[in-house]
């Protein structure tokens, strides 16, 4: 047996069902087939994925563009090497009777977010920015992960959420709602693989193998969602219900594909969108310097 190269992924979450393609490694061995011993480091948000990687606990971060922009803005030398979810999965959900149909309708409303550090808040800011509003025009409430409860209780007018969140919310009896999808305004990707520039320069062949393995696992999950849903029951921490697993995996499969990936293959970036996202962040004051996205997004390792 040849010795495997260790690669640990620092994720933004606990081992949940939507990343079953990573968790299925013991069953499917996509990474082992590439000579890689895969590890998974749980995190609490995209920021912690990057810090866990920077602290040396992992080599690759599974993180969101916002955290990526921020880390770059703080002067970290990072590169994004794979576009995991090219589709923006964030949205704003409100009961029909509030009459919130477009981003502009949010003005003056009370909106829940997971937490002040979460993607829900940042994407809400992006959404508001697209229609010339800022956080000052609305009231932000930290509602925690059970953020649909305050909506049901009428404590907020709307809540910022994600596509999977909306799905389970509906399962839990959310009722009739209007959904404003962020991707309709600015379709910044949701998650990417990010590594340090130094690691990128030193380990290109290994990373290439890593991305091949990940691409294969993603393709498997797209092709065999039922099998993935079954594996998630035991491999993920929240996958006790196979039917729910299947739906969530399907939702994630959709967000893993876009026009760009259909044209170029899984994992490819739309650099223009990422640049727009960075510019929006700059305009919002979330970062301080203009970022040259072409400098920090490297598509050369993405498998054909």
């Amino acid at each position: 047996a040849q010795s495997l190269d260790k690669v640990a992924v620092a994720g933004w979450s606990k081992p949940i069902s939507e990343i079953t393609n990573l968790l299925a490694e013991p069953d499917k061995g996509f990474f082992k087939a590439q000579g890689i011993d895969l590890g998974y480091i749980p995190g609490a948000g995209g920021g912690s994925a990057i810090t866990n990687m920077l602290s040396g606990a992992a080599q690759v971060a599974f993180t969101d563009p916002a955290s990526f922009y921020r880390a770059l803005d703080w002067g970290e030398k990072l590169v994004a090497i794979y576009n995991i979810y090219p589709q923006n999965v964030f949205n704003v959900v409100s009961p029909v009777d509030r009459g919130i149909k477009t981003p502009a309708d949010l003005k003056g409303k009370t909106i829940g977010v997971y937490s002040l550090s979460s993607g829900t808040r940042q994407n809400l800011q992006v959404l508001l920015h697209q229609v010339g509003l800022t956080e000052a025009d609305v009231t932000i409430k930290v509602a925690g992960l059970l953020n649909f409860a305050p909506v049901i209780q009428g404590q907020v007018d709307a809540t910022a959420a994600t596509d999977t969140g909306l799905y389970v919310g509906k399962l839990k009896g959310l009722g009739e709602v209007n959904v404003i999808n962020v991707k309709d305004s600015l379709n910044v990707p949701s998650d990417m693989f990010v590594v340090t520039k130094a690691y990128y320069n030193a380990n290109k062949p290994l990373l290439r193998r890593f991305l091949v393995a990940y691409r294969d696992s993603a393709a498997w999950m797209i092709a065999e969602p039922e099998e993935a849903a079954k594996i998630a029951i035991n491999r993920s921490i929240n996958g006790r219900n196979e039917k729910v697993n299947l739906e969530i995996i399907k939702i994630r499969n959709i967000s893993a594909q876009s026009e760009t990936t259909k044209a170029k293959g899984l994992g490819h970036f739309d650099v223009g969108l990422l640049q727009k996202g960075a510019d929006t962040f700059l305009a919002l004051g979330l970062i301080k310097a203009k970022l040259e996205i072409t400098q920090v997004v490297k598509s050369d390792l993405i498998p054909e």
Partner: protein, 253 residues
């Protein structure tokens, strides 16, 4: 058992009331789940297929390890800081600082120092539960009466002997109160530790359940945690009774 009856009756009454409120008011399961649903989840978690046991085991191990570590350190530090006044003056601000800084936010540092998995959680648990023991040990050591201190001085007891044979036994009831607080905090610490960096255990499961908006599972997890807490607490009571058996004799009450 008989003596537990009223408490059990109250439990049943509370559960019945809760179920009634949830059903009659039609509260969404997202807000507060019905106890019947919670118990169904609990049943499936504990009996078939029993997916909870693995998490219970992890959290239990972390709690007990962290408790043992935290209590030992807290007790020893209590002795040392209680006895050596200059050291107390030197280190006390740092002891306090470790306590007030939120463990939740220290996550990255812990990961650098202790890596992922159980070690970090055990360290967080120990850090959380050591303070009550420290405080109560230091307070307990003051409990010996001046006459008994004089006795020990007269008998030529070394400082460590006075500590071991007089001050610790005198302060034992207070020290044990610290242990009771510590076991409760240890469980809290283990769960919080898993919030930060665990991929297994009841705390990690709570975060996952929250992500799935599965309030029913969340409440089931709360119940599992509460049951563990009660169990651990009872165990410390038994240990305490054994340690204090000499104390209890001949106190006419």
């Amino acid at each position: 058992m008989q003596r537990r009856l009223p408490s059990l009756a109250l439990l049943l009454a509370l559960l019945a009331g809760w179920e009634a409120v949830v059903r009659l008011a039609g509260i969404s399961a997202l807000v507060i789940p019905a106890p019947s649903a919670v118990f169904a989840v609990l049943w499936s978690g504990l009996v078939t297929p029993g997916f909870l046991w693995q998490h219970i085991w992890v959290t239990g191990a972390e709690t007990l390890l962290g408790f043992a570590l935290g209590c030992s350190i807290g007790f020893v530090c209590g002795l040392v800081l209680g006895e050596v006044e200059p050291l107390r003056r030197l280190l006390w601000p740092y002891v306090l600082a470790t306590q007030v800084v939120p463990k939740l936010a220290l996550g990255p540092i812990f990961i650098i120092w202790f890596g992922f998995g159980m070690t970090s959680t055990v360290v967080i648990t120990a850090l959380i539960c050591f303070f009550p023991l420290l405080e109560n040990t230091m307070t307990g050591l003051q409990a010996a009466t001046p006459e008994k201190r004089d006795l020990f001085r007269m008998l030529g007891a070394r400082q460590w002997q006075t500590l071991l044979r007089l001050k610790i036994p005198s302060g034992l009831p207070v020290i044990m109160a610290g242990v009771r607080i510590a076991i409760v905090l240890a469980l809290v610490g283990a769960v919080v530790g898993e919030f930060i960096g665990g991929s297994e255990g009841l705390g990690a499961s709570i975060i996952a359940a929250q992500g799935m908006m599965d309030s029913t599972l969340m409440f089931a997890l709360f119940i599992a945690i509460a049951a563990m807490g009660l169990l651990f607490y009872q165990l410390t009571l038994i240990i305490e009774r054994w340690l204090l058996r000499g104390w209890l004799k001949g106190t006419i009450t």
